[in-house]
């Protein structure tokens, strides 16, 4: 799961770098409609992974 999250965020980052180097309309479309969903999906997967690992639980033992 962490590999998939890394891959999705990496794809999003490559698109962001492409936009930064060449800010054009087609790259803006890529940034908005491919990069942003890819980043959101990667972060969501990472959140799910962290949640399943118990990192987001409020009832952790303090010991």
């Amino acid at each position: 799961m962490i590999r998939l999250a890394c891959l999705l965020v990496l794809v999003a980052l490559v698109i962001a770098v492409v936009l930064a180097v060449r800010p054009t309309g087609p790259n803006a479309i890529l940034f908005s409609f491919v990069g942003m969903p890819s980043l959101a999906a990667g972060i969501l997967l990472f959140g799910v992974k962290r949640w399943r690992d118990g990192a987001l639980s409020w009832n952790r033992d303090s010991t």
Partner: protein
Amino acid sequence: MRRMVGEGLVLVVTALARNGWSADGATPLFSWPPAHRGLDWLQILPIVVAIPAAAILLVGLVRGRLMPAAATAGILFLPVAAYGLGALLLMEDSKTVRFCGSCHIMTPIVASLSAEGDSLAAVHYRRGLVSHEEACFVCHSGYGIWGTVDAKMAGIRHMVRTATSDYKFPIEHRGPFDIDSCLTCHARSATFRAVGAHQDPDTQQALFKREMSCTGICHSAGHPDDALMGPAS
């Protein structure tokens, strides 16, 4: 690895610096934007933030696990920062004529700006009455913060329509053109006020009620008809 990243960064910075400083072969007086305007930080910062994030992500991709702090930085904070900076770059750069002309639908319209013709846009552009950098944005966005917001919303609509091929030729302006964009510059001009037709109260009322526009009856169209028909395929 560290050396490769460093060299890559230097290459990118050099390329961006060259673009910023290039004079397009023109003499310094006639080149615009002016020479030595420096580095475009809005272009550089997303890359600077993306590089460490990409390094962390590559480690995660290869090893299949990451330390929680590194994962949070590499998957969450740095990419979100890179995207925030990228969005800021997009907001600023989408004001430029070059950006508008980069989509094939708009290419003929942008080309018509510098071509010979009597369309209002071409006349304003050739005479330097609007910024050559941001001519599209100057005329097609209203004034004030809501004008900018409306222009950005229109930009998002344009992107959706372009991505889904949901457009037809000839391109038409959505709703009536906001003549405040014209009047903000012209209304206080002595030559504008001296024109008899502009002094007529009925014409003024019709203009303010948006029953009449500057183009059509009195002035030529904003853009030539053939440019609105899209690129010749």
